[in-house]
Amino acid sequence: MLRREFLYSLSATLGPAAFSSLLAEEATKSSGSSGPHFPEAKAKHCIFLYMEGGPSHIDTFDPKPKLSELHLKEFQRSGEKQSAMSSGKRYYVESPFKFHKVGESGADMCDRWEHLPNVADELCFYRGCQVESVNHPTANYHVNTGNRFGGDPAIGAWVNYGLGTENKDLPGYIVLPELFHPQGGSANWSNGFLPTAFQGTPLRPKGSPILDIAPPPGITQEHQRKNLDYLQFLNRNHASQHPQHDDLRARMQNYELAFRMQVEVPGILSLDDETEKTLEMYGVGQEPTDNFGRRCLLARKLVEKGVRFVQLYASTWDSHDYLAKAHGALIPAVDQPIAALIQDLRQRGLLDETLIVWMGEFGRTPDNGVRGGGLAYGRDHNPDAMSIWMAGGGCRAGHTIGATDEIGATAVENVHHIRDFHVTLLRLLGLDDNKLTYYHAGRFKQLSQFGGATIPELIA
């Protein structure tokens, strides 16, 4: 087991031939299958745009004109399922944004989206998804790992476990967080009970991309090489004393791989090779798009390099107050970069094999507490209704699937639990949730926890 985990680590180019054959053998043994379960599936990569905090479906992609009639009308929520937040006087609130139909498909978008309409026909909207948790960390865990309480492998870990790696120089699952980590922290990209090597590797937006990847100040490659040579001398002597201890060789090799990675990784993250035009298209160097634009561009580069699963976080969409201002500012920060990503992938012929997913951990309520009124109103957490969209990767572009009720309180058409969305996501990537299992703590575990159904309407 130790050998296998090592082989899946962030490895650089492999050395001796004997070692490569070992890798091939171990790779087959340790992944869920020897390839996709559905070879006809188009998607080979996934870029997951995680809108942390729970974007409001009502104010992005799911217009609710009825709320204008009900605006500031009062109602009460009751019952023992209510939290402190949802108790007391509540008011319906309308969306502060105007909606229009865009693209040939006539998709609904609010007018804060100015660039996304250009690629509207590439998108497949889904309004039927429901989750269980109303708290951020548990909802994040639920969306990312299928388990509300965390501790299980994230989708990206499962996908890499199932499809294996395309580029041994890079981790197969890369996370591009905001400067700050989301609620629930690194358990959102955990390998769970899968081998450690399937863990998501967060590339830090500032400072060193991977912790301690750079030698201490003043220490050169040459300097470190000499230390490594001396280390390997000691390790060789030691290994000759312990010929039956298998782990020794793996750990020795690991130092060589790490040494090469130190050189290679920083180059991969540089945007220097990109044209002015590309940078401009993603909004790099401009506000408010620079931050997310850089990461979208990097996501494209990583996918080109063969990284299976890239997850980007944009936050925080948790607009309990001042919805107009908050969502009004958040949308333009991601709008142009996302549109550029889709266009860029399309022009490079990569959109078909790259599934893009846009979602948060839940939607938002049509109502707000007593804090509302005027322009100060926002919306609270709503696990019963949300907007998700996908693009590329064999999804059913140009369609809107499912519906919420007339005020956006709950999904009413083509309603599925998040587990079914997970199954569908895997299906688009050629993986069968029922076959992508791992034996742990007494049973075969899977992303959907206990199995689920595909949502055929989302697949082209």
């Binding site: 400067l179 980590h181 010929p243 007494g442």
Partner: protein, 931 residues
């Protein structure tokens, strides 16, 4: 508990053994027996999820509830799914043998039928696919099924209640064997060895020879203390004139008396009980008094507290304190209250967004499952929604155990400090905490000032005669006409949120320095407040809330109670049905704990000795220390396990006695190298024979502690408030979200003496772990960890080679050795002795000196500046009110007085060059592996 006969009702009647009349009016046919005993169970277990009226959604319109439905078929194959008597025409067989492409059933590869199962269905179809009624099926099962019935409190269905088990799967529920034949005294070996050697003989395996004394002292010292032996200790042991066994026994005795023993073995226990200093989830608030539980555990191991007592204190300490109030000293009472903090170790919080019933259930489910895993080796969570699929644990038992905890409530209870508690460093720590708090208060005050100005302005603009909202409110202005929030910019909103949140946190964190016990009491359940301050214990625990009535929850949903249950235990354990519980809300846990710690409980002592064994040998006698059920690995040496359990209990549940019994054996002292490795690997491919000792990698904390120990920097003080060592600075300042805002930064202790303490004392924040420890497989503390992984991943190299802590240790080690030794050869010898417990070979000596010289040349060219540490950090964040970015500055007060460890600019090139040598030694395989 009185001695009970084992309750298995043996009905070992095979399929082929013929019919004996016990109630069936007519002998069943072969086909009927096949159906009742083989076919229908497969249908129910593997097919009913999608092909039954009871399924959530029925697939392909195909049902398997009756013979008629089966024969009618579904959408795809119609009536040719099964043609009775015609196996060639029955498509079902192709699906089940996975030959019908696209129709492989069941769809989950992992659930595919075995060949034998497919054959049973084939033969049944051949026999005409008979389908007897339920009563007859039950009769056939009763009379003909193999296996044994276990008496339990009963499942949700009669068929579960009456189902039969393979006796092998029930090993943990069988009485512990306490009588053993005279162990052969042909050899002077220990009883442990006689069990191991017997199996080696039976399997024809030769064992490895005894390891050298040099190897053994390193093995035993790391094992018992988590630290390397000093060169003097190695020398003393190697030179001990006594025979090997005697000398080693004396070594074990010495190590068991070390106070560091409790740190190492307490740490193992803290993995099992998932200790952390914070709540996890959205707020990840510090639990400011949790550290007292950690120290309680260390003390318990050091004092060799009888484990039955240790169990009872953790499960019911507060009740014991209450019940025996008059007889107890203040100290004893405190100890008991701290002990039951065990019950609250899991991640848990209740926020303004939380639904009270849901968070309560979260606790109840967590503690039920945890108690099952930790003490009983039974993962109970499976039974939250249904009777156990494989083990004799009905869902009723899950909720009966849950009822034991239904009156368990949280409280921080005021106590006295214990004389053994280490209060050092509190004033120092509090000083910085005060500074932090005061700075935050100042920001808040400024914002409130601004808010007041804005409010006044708001009223002025509207021509209203008020200055403040409060004033207007008092004057009777309607809520709707008051200003909502009067801050303006993203920065103001953002800072105000941070300020408020940090105010809660900081206020609560002052409790770190107060003698509260993070504890529990028994009483009614009150509506919880958002948990951002300590929970007081109410004056009257039985008033002001609801006495929970536990019931079996449909699908585990707290809003779907079904059958009410009473407090109880795991009913399959012999004697369990006779355990009684008090009617009052207090005392349930006491009764439960007594049952757990009863010598006759077939699970507890086995579970404990197996854990101890597993930590010594790197694997349990039963391979899954948290799972003694059907799906866990069976014991490789069941008699040894029972012998150890008996020995343990009859010696007063003494863990130290158990260490002696286990360690003073040939098995423990064997070499890791075998003379005939190929023979061994073919005779013992899974490595269960104990013919060799398994090498192990040091655990995360051991690596850090060992480097501090050899560098001479380790402060060996025991216990006290959590410490904060240096963390990779980028990780320390990594901003992270907590509910509604951002968490304060991680700032190390300014004094190296506080930082460089053993890793067990590191502040364990669930949402912000020390990257070095995490990368070396320190487990997360969500669930109980039975054994740690030892994976080899590349980030470990970065941490050990490039990380600041590793480089600091290397430099300190170089300085230490240069200070202690006169000539170069002596330096190298001392280094090898410190790091590896042996002298270098001539080749190593030469290569090391050469490398030192070579690095000296490189280092001479290098120039180092003092490192500047940040005294503040500027953060960029997005405000959730406006969606706009803003910046805020956090002062890092402790860095103002920060004393770094020895730095490169403080020493000459030769020392730095030796530090290069040291860094390599600390990275070497010989340093991180124990043999």
């Amino acid at each position: 508990m009185s001695c009970k006969a084992f309750r298995l009702v043996c009905l070992l009647l095979g399929l082929m053994s013929g019919w004996n009349s016990t109630g069936l009016a007519e002998a069943p046919s072969v086909g009927e027996k096949l159906f009742a005993l083989k076919v229908q169970p497969i249908f129910q277990e593997k097919c009913a999820g999608c092909h039954s009226e009871s399924a959530d959604s029925i697939e392909s319109g195909f049902l398997l509830d009756t013979r008629e439905q089966l024969l009618a078929g579904g959408d795809s194959w119609g009536d040719s799914v099964v043609v009775p008597g015609e196996i060639e025409d029955s498509y079902l067989l192709g699906m089940l043998s996975r030959e019908e492409e696209g129709f492989e059933m069941p769809p989950k590869e992992a659930e595919k039928l075995t060949e034998e199962e497919v054959w049973a269905i084939r033969d049944w179809i051949q026999e005409g696919a008979p389908w007897p009624d339920d009563e007859r099926i039950a009769g056939i099962y009763r009379d003909f099924a193999e296996g044994v019935v276990v008496q339990t409190s009963g499942g949700l269905s009669e068929s579960w209640t009456n189902r039969k088990y393979d006796p092998e799967d029930l090993w943990a529920f069988q009485p512990i064997q306490t009588e053993f034949p005279e162990l052969s005294d042909a050899c002077k070996c220990s009883p442990v060895d006689s069990f191991i050697d017997q199996q080696l003989d039976e399997r024809g395996i030769l064992s490895a020879p005894r390891a050298s004394r040099q190897v053994l002292i390193r093995r035993a010292t790391f094992d018992l203390l988590g630290l390397p032996p000093t060169p003097a200790e190695v020398q003393e042991f190697v030179d001990d004139p006594r025979d090997d066994n005697e000398a080693f026994a004396a070594l074990v005795d010495r190590l068991l008396e070390s106070p560091h023993y409790g740190e190492q073995w307490g740490r193992h226990w803290l993995d099992v009980v998932r200790y952390a200093d914070s709540s996890g989830f959205a707020n990840d608030y510090e639990r400011p008094n949790a550290w007292r539980f950690r120290d309680y555990v260390v003390r318990a191991f050091n004092a060799d507290k009888p484990f039955d007592k240790f169990i009872q204190e953790q499960i019911a300490g507060d009740e014991l304190a209450e019940a025996n109030g008059d007889e107890l000293t203040q100290e004893q009472r405190t100890e008991l209250l701290v002990a039951s903090g065990f019950l609250r170790m899991g991640p848990w919080e209740h926020t303004g967004m939380s639904v009270a019933k849901v968070t309560r259930q979260l606790f109840l489910d967590d503690i039920t499952d945890t108690v099952g895993q930790v003490f009983l080796g039974q993962a109970l969570q499976c039974c939250r929604c249904h009777d156990h699929k494989f083990d004799p644990i009905p869902t009723r038992d899950f909720y009966s155990v849950q009822a034991v905890f239904a009156t368990t409530q949280f409280a921080e209870i005021e106590t006295e400090w214990l004389p053994d508690e280490n209060l050092a460093g509190m004033e120092e720590d509090k000083k910085y905490h005060r500074l932090r708090h005061a700075a935050n208060e100042k920001v808040l005050q400024e914002l409130h000032q601004k808010q007041a100005e804005y409010e006044a302005e708001w009223f002025r603009e509207r021509g209203m005669p008020y200055k403040t909202k409060a004033e207007a409110k008092k004057a009777g202005v309607a809520v709707d006409e008051l200003p909502n929030r009067t801050l303006k910019t993203a920065e103001e909103f953002g800072k105000e949120r941070i300020g408020r949140k940090w105010q809660h946190r900081f206020n609560w964190e002052f409790d770190r320095y107060k003698p509260f016990a993070y504890s529990t009491y028994s009483g009614v359940t009150r509506t919880p407040k958002s948990s951002y301050s300590r929970i007081p214990k109410p004056d009257n625990p039985s008033k002001g809330g609801e006495l929970e009535k536990t019931a079996i929850l449909g699908g585990g949903d707290p809003f779907s109670p079904t059958i009410p249950v009473q407090p109880g235990v795991l009913s399959a354990v012999p004697g369990a049905l006779e355990v009684s519980f008090p009617a009052s809300h207090s005392g349930r846990r006491t009764a439960f704990a007594q049952w757990v710690a009863d010598p006759e409980n077939t699970l507890t002592s086995r579970v404990l000795v197996n854990r101890i064994w597993a930590f010594h040998f790197g694997r349990g006698i039963a391979g899954n220390p948290n799972n003694f059920g059907t799906t866990g690995k069976k014991p490789t040496h069941p008699k040894l396990l029972d012998w150890l359990a008996t020995e343990f209990v009859s010696n007063g549940w003494s863990i130290k006695h158990l260490h002696r019994v286990i360690m003073n054996t040939d098995a423990y002292c064997r070499s890791t190298t075998h003379f005939h490795p190929e023979q061994l690997s073919s005779a013992d491919p899974s490595g269960t024979s104990y013919a060799v000792f398994l090498p192990r990698r040091l655990e995360a904390e051991e690596i850090r502690d060992a480097t501090l120990s050899v560098s001479g920097e380790l402060n060996p003080a025991l216990g006290g408030i959590p410490i904060r060592p240096d963390m990779n600075l980028e990780a320390a300042l990594q901003p992270r979200m907590i509910m509604g805002t951002f968490a304060p930064s991680y700032v190390p202790n300014p004094d190296p003496n506080d930082r460089n303490r053993r890793s067990i004392y590191i502040h364990k924040i669930r949402g912000h772990r020390i990257p070095f420890l995490e990368t070396f497989n320190q487990p997360g503390s969500e669930t109980s960890c039975e054994m740690r992984d030892q994976s080899n991943i590349t980030p470990q190299v970065f941490a050990m080679l490039n990380g600041q802590e590793a480089n600091d240790r290397a430099l300190a080690l170089a300085k230490r050795v240069l200070d202690e030794c006169d000539d170069e050869q002596q330096v190298v010898r001392q280094l090898f002795e410190l790091c590896f417990g042996r002298l270098p070979t001539d080749a190593e000596l030469q290569a090391t000196q050469q490398h030192w010289d070579q690095m000296n040349e490189l280092q001479k060219e290098l120039h180092f500046e003092p490192v500047e540490y940040p005294v503040e950090v500027v953060r960029e964040a997005v405000d959730e009110n406006t969606g706009e970015r803003f910046e805020f500055t956090e002062k890092l007060f402790a860095y103002q007085d920060y004393i770094p460890d020895l730095q490169p600019h403080q020493v000459d090139a030769r020392t730095r060059a030796l530090a290069d040598v040291c860094l390599v030694l600390l990275n070497s395989n010989e340093f991180v592996y124990v043999y």
